[in-house]
């Protein structure tokens, strides 16, 4: 099975997950071309400058997945299979829902290249020629310490994402922002925790709250463990109290969602799970975000102009997109600012 065949089969299986922006075969082939220089470079030698080169995928990749969203699992399994590797996939101990059925959607030639389990196989670390690890900084550090130095190690740790609405007097982006916040219960690395708003930020917060309610009516938040519910209740109580003595604070809440308007330039703590802050956009935004310089993920902007993107291109985000598309990553995106196929392969040059 060559790269194109794998891409076709993968695209058919991926189409069963419309909520995860599934890539087409063309998208996958394009990612190979962009990252490795030629669509067929995994299948044989191709011209590369004045000689020939071939990208050789790891025979076996170990994937350690976190339980926050199915997105990461989806994309990393697709990439590993697209490369033609055998893939050892450690699902989170709590499972990953529908995503665990993905191997069953693949033709035998690909499903046999996926070994999935909620337990880390005893010999998996020894067998793997590349490691891809998703999780907390602690989890990543633990696996990094166990990974032999010659083995490629791709880490995907914690990220904080935000939105910036520079100019939206018609409040057109509110419904889109509500979707970005609510999808995947704000557990994804691209889920915005704060929306910074130019102009009338209070009015925006009010409108966002209406849209959060609307989204929740159509897609209710799932039941949560007690400890998580308690964290949300504490955060609501804290902000309710602050709002009672500060006209610069206002809280809107409904079943499974919370919007807090707050004026200070401090980056607030969110318990996540559809708990979002709206703050006025100020010139000090870069310094407010500087505390998270090594952990910034996605930035949603409105309007999505090049000037807006350039304004924040150096702030540390790996992805800038239009608000409303924060959860819809193209297959070619540089997840965590890196090329995800290129960082796993090794190269063989042939100079005839």
């Amino acid at each position: 099975m060559n790269t194109a065949d794998r891409a076709e089969s993968l695209a058919r299986a991926a189409a069963h997950f419309p909520e995860l922006s599934p890539p087409t075969a063309r998208d996958m082939i394009e990612s190979v071309r962009l990252e490795l220089g030629h669509e067929e470079i995994l299948d044989g030698f191709q011209m590369y400058g004045g000689h020939l080169s071939m990208a050789v995928a790891p025979r076996t990749i170990l994937h350690i997945l976190s339980g926050n969203t199915p997105h990461a699992a989806f994309q990393t399994m697709l990439r590993g299979l697209l490369l033609g590797s055998h893939n050892l996939v450690k699902f989170p101990s709590g499972g990953l829902g529908k995503m665990e059925g993905f191997p069953g959607l693949l033709p035998a030639g690909l499903s046999s290249r996926l070994e999935c389990s909620r337990q880390l196989g005893e010999d998996w670390p020894r067998r793997a020629e590349a490691w891809v690890v998703f999780g907390s900084d602690v989890t990543v550090a633990e696996f990094r310490a166990k990974c032999p130095p010659q083995i490629p190690f791709q880490a995907h740790g914690h990220r904080v994402s935000v939105g910036v609405v520079s100019d939206d007097p018609g409040l057109e982006s509110c419904a889109l922002a509500a979707r970005d916040v609510s999808l995947f219960e704000q557990q994804g690395c691209l889920s915005p925790q704060v929306i910074f708003v130019g102009g009338d930020a209070f009015r925006y917060a009010e409108a966002l709250a209406r849209e959060m309610e609307r989204f929740a009516a159509a897609s209710p938040a799932p039941p949560l463990p007690l400890a998580v519910e308690a964290e949300i209740a504490h955060a609501r109580a804290d902000w309710d109290f602050r709002a009672s003595g500060d006209r610069g604070v206002r809280v809107w809440k409904g079943t499974g969602w919370t919007v807090v308007f707050e004026k200070s330039e401090e980056f607030p703590d969110s318990p996540l799970h559809r708990f979002v802050f709206v703050k006025p956009l100020s010139e000090n935004l870069p310094s407010c975000l500087a505390r998270f310089a090594n952990h910034l993920g996605g930035l949603g902007v409105w309007p999505g102009t090049p000037a807006n993107a350039m304004r924040f291109a150096g702030a540390g985000f790996s992805r800038i997109c239009l608000i409303g598309r924060m959860q819809d990553t193209p297959f070619t995106w540089h997840s965590d600012s890196r090329q995800n196929l290129a960082s796993l392969v090794r190269w063989v040059d042939f100079e005839p």
Partner: protein, 330 residues
């Protein structure tokens, strides 16, 4: 009537009521609430627009964080004679509990100790004396219960020597202080006389150390010869005046007659059913100078009129690659 007179009168009434056994909790607590709603500006703002409660469970509870962000006083600020501060793990401002009188605190601490069944004699402490820790409410409480020459904080050798020759003794300290002492003992063992007790409190604040209660209580048995039932836990906090006690493992904390715990659902705010878990609110009629209803950050199981603490259970909070900012910076 001047506010000062009103406060002093109410304080005296509550004091007498506590001494008499604290019957009629609801009426007394509603009195305290009405007073605080009228005289505590930050709390008045918080209650603004909320109906007057008709039962003690309906009294609006402030989150403990309110003690960090607001000066919660039901007396004029200039009458403050003492402020206790919280110790915390996450940095930022401490919570501050202001007092214009320590009278009710003294009553609650000493009467609560006795009512729980703890001996008032032969108590030693392994926490600092109030003279050296003026912002610690725990040290203040201990200073009422323990003679000054029986404070052994940071004097482990002297404590060990004392315990080796002491008669029946009650040792009062934080879980962390006990753990430090046990580690320092380095395998040595003292068997305290029958009837001796330990009272541990406070967890492991300010450190990254954690130990399950069962393991800590095993150490009490191993190092001091105290069986689990002879080890008590005091649940209190800087933001409160009253304390809740239990002993042994798996038993609920009991309230003194002038205070109550209420376990509520985090999603509805309504009291949970018997045996169910939720957020713990504390209603403390002795907390006259600040707010008598507080929403703690602890989870608990409702056990009749008592509650069984289950901590905050942060491990149960799944975190993926979207990280709450507080954790990132901790």
């Amino acid at each position: 009537m001047q506010h000062t007179d009103h406060y002093a009168d109410l304080e005296t009434e509550i004091s007498r009521w506590m001494a008499a056994g604290g019957g009629g909790f609801e009426d007394r607590l509603l009195d305290v609430h009405r007073f605080q709603r009228a005289h505590n500006p930050a709390y008045r703002d918080f209650c603004s627009g909320l109906p007057e409660p008709t039962c003690w469970q309906g009294i609006p509870a402030v989150p403990v964080s309110a003690f960090k962000t607001a000066g919660l006083r039901s007396f004029p600020e200039e009458q403050t004679i003492r402020t206790f501060e919280t110790s915390g793990t996450t940095g930022g401002s401490p919570g501050r509990h202001h007092f214009c009188s320590l009278s009710l605190y003294l009553h609650a601490a000493t009467r609560g100790w006795i009512r729980a069944g703890l001996p008032a004699e032969n108590v030693v402490a392994i926490i600092p004396h109030a003279a050296g820790a003026p912002y610690s409410s725990l040290s203040q409480m201990a200073s009422w219960l323990v003679p000054q020459d029986r404070f052994f904080f940071s004097r482990r050798g002297e404590l060990l020597a004392f315990l080796e020759t002491a008669g029946k003794t009650v040792i009062f300290g934080t879980a962390l202080a006990f753990l430090d002492f046990f580690e320092w003992m380095n395998g040595r063992r003292v068997v305290l006389p029958a009837g001796s007790l330990a009272v541990e409190t406070g967890g492991y604040k300010g450190t990254r150390r954690e130990m399950p209660k069962s393991e800590l209580y095993h150490l009490f048995q191993e190092r001091l010869g105290l069986p689990p039932d002879s080890v008590w836990n005091e649940y209190g906090m800087t933001e409160l005046i009253s304390q809740f006690y239990t002993n042994g493992l798996g038993r609920p904390h009991r309230a003194p007659p002038w205070a109550r715990g209420l376990v509520v659902s985090p999603s509805t705010g309504i009291e949970v059913g018997e045996g169910e878990a939720g957020i713990l609110k504390i209603f403390d009629a002795a907390n006259l100078g600040s707010v008598c209803a507080i929403q703690t950050r602890d989870l608990a199981i409702r056990r009749g009129r008592d509650f069984e603490l289950i901590g905050r259970d942060p491990a149960a909070i799944p975190r993926g690659c979207s990280l709450a900012a507080d954790e990132l910076l901790s």
